[in-house]
Symmetry: C2
């Protein structure tokens, strides 16, 4: 987006009294890419630690599961403002351009993930390993679903 | 760390009844590097949004400052478990090996940053732009201090 178009957009936004468009939060598309990769990286690490418990690779630790789930919920809210136009690609792991032609469907897939990780957080708070395992599986399914559709 | 040494370490940890060593949270050193880079990336983005207000580049928005400060505080706690041995380097931006020979000093520098961002969070909660500006400057100083000493 050119600076003129950006300022026009910001003026329209100000006039409409709504919050800033997501793209305006990043000075350059590369910044958005780094940000969302960073957010996913942190989310994946903490989600993976719950997964290791769910899969019996490490002993279940209720406090650790809850702390990790809290971080997953926080991180789950972050990447989506960073899917700004001009940041799709064809490399392995990059987002497909269909995100921008089917934005409502993409946002719905994101929302499903966000809802499932909130359920995972609630399950972790119970301290019940079986509930965590079930909720982990459901949440992992929403990751996979979106990756299968929108990730190269 | 070899698997044998890892298991020995884990056995010692289990025997001592303390929590897992940080390194055990990452399967490979590269995972730790990606994780801490991701955490810093997200922290920097949200810290930078407060900075833009502090520097008068965007209008002060108390609610946005508070939301960004909350995320900065959350992220500030994350990178340091990921400074595991074998992850220093000589490239621009990589950590110096002195982190591991002066770990207590490094941890102290990290703690200073964590303390200052908590103060920034408190300042943001007041909704007072001047307080946010002052606290932002102090927090930014702790970033710079640690980068000057421990980052290539």
């Amino acid at each position: 987006m050119s600076m003129t178009r950006l300022w026009t957009a910001l003026a329209l936004v100000a006039a409409a009294g709504v919050s800033l468009p997501a793209a305006a939060q990043f000075a350059k598309p590369e910044d958005a890419v780094k940000y969302r990769k960073g957010a996913y990286q942190v989310m994946a690490a903490h989600f993976g630690r719950i997964g290791a418990m769910a899969q019996g690779k490490v002993p279940f630790d209720a406090a650790a599961a809850a702390a990790n789930a809290d971080l997953v919920v926080t991180m789950s809210k972050l990447p989506f403002t960073a899917f700004v136009e001009g940041t799709s690609g064809t490399d392995k792991g990059s987002p497909k351009a269909s995100i921008w032609t089917e934005r409502a469907k993409f946002d719905e897939a994101a929302k499903k993930m966000q809802d499932e990780v909130v359920k995972l957080q609630a399950a972790a708070k119970t301290g019940n390993a079986e509930q965590v395992k079930t909720a982990f599986g459901a949440a992992a399914g929403t990751c996979k679903n979106c990756h299968d559709t929108y990730r190269n």
